[in-house]
Symmetry: C2
Subunit: 204 residues, 2 copies
């Protein structure tokens, strides 16, 4: 890597760092080009030589947040490998809630951000990575499950937990206690898992 490439990579990282810090501290709404420039020591125009536009930069910040989240969830899951699948899924859901609360602004930015252009595939994959862990657990719980079906149920499970956390901690509606949110999540998780068993008993 040439000196120029290294310098560019450093600058690029500094811009993402600055944007990530601003989003984490003040939220996506407060993010603007001039403040990013001040925070990382460059002129506004410089940012546009490293990122197509502000939306693209946000994509990279969100990708970083998403990978942090995925790592937290996977670590939690590996730690509880001995336990039952329902317990492990509940632990993952609790960890999801914990991450959302602890990194509220950055987590919110994941879903708050919208761009007109189609989202690039590499960022979609960052999201799908989360489903994978869940699908693996579902297959562990019920080995006979069709792979595509497991993926769909995993996404449904993730979406449900996301909805519960999203509306649970939103100030739009009254914010629920973490305990109430966990109760909702566990009810959904155990409900879906028991249904998977019930449908299995009906079918073959």
């Amino acid at each position: 890597m040439s000196i120029r490439e290294a310098s560019n990579a450093r600058r690029r990282m500094a811009i993402i760092d600055a944007a990530h810090a601003i989003i984490s501290q003040k939220g996506l709404q407060a993010l603007n080009i001039r403040d990013i420039g001040k925070a990382c020591g460059c002129a506004p125009g410089t940012i546009y030589t490293h990122f197509e536009d502000l939306d693209t930069l946000i994509l990279y910040v969100n990708s970083r947040t998403l990978n942090q989240l995925a790592q937290v969830l996977e670590t939690i899951d590996e730690a509880g490998q001995g336990g039952s699948v329902p317990d492990r899924l509940c632990n993952m859901a609790d960890a999801y809630l914990g991450f959302a609360v602890a990194n509220r602004s950055a987590w919110q930015a994941l879903f708050e951000h919208q761009m007109e252009r189609p989202i690039p595939q590499w960022h979609r994959d960052d999201h799908f990575r989360l489903f994978g862990s869940i699908a693996r657990l579902l297959l562990l719980h019920k080995p006979g499950l069709d792979a595509a079906q497991a993926q769909l149920v995993a996404r449904g499970l993730y979406s449900s937990v996301h909805g519960i956390v999203s509306l649970g901690i939103a100030p739009r509606l009254l914010r629920l206690s973490d305990q109430e949110i966990r109760q909702q999540m566990h009810l959904v998780i155990n409900g879906i898992l028991s249904r998977l068993v019930v449908e299995d008993q009906k079918d073959p």
Copy 2:
């Protein structure tokens, strides 16, 4: 009502109509004061004599959308009064999906919109109205249920369905077919309902 009051009410309604139309057609992001003024035939400044700011105006648009949604759900529910509670809840969920797809931009604006100031109570109540219908059905399905518990489960159910629809039709992740989304929703609804029964059998 004086001529002036009537004129103000008409103007106020025209502004909300215009804003609602723009949000429905082009989305919340495309909404701006000048276009609203053009659409309802007044100057930008006039809008600020009828609404504190753009955020407040959006609140009124969202309130209208929310009431449309509540009416659709309540109508659907009344139509299926003969059926079982699980079926009625599934029908309501299907109607929720239908509304979100048919009124995508307006529906999205409900959750996309964020303001720094606290949301006024009257708008919170517009949201809580939706939980009420669900809680009533839960109590119908399981009369012994505690009222507060029913409200919490209702909110969890609503949140889950919302999450499934939200991430299901979002272009962020690959958009699922309506059929796949319904499958996810029905799994969650039946799962939660069966869990309610199970927990009941354990406890008393």
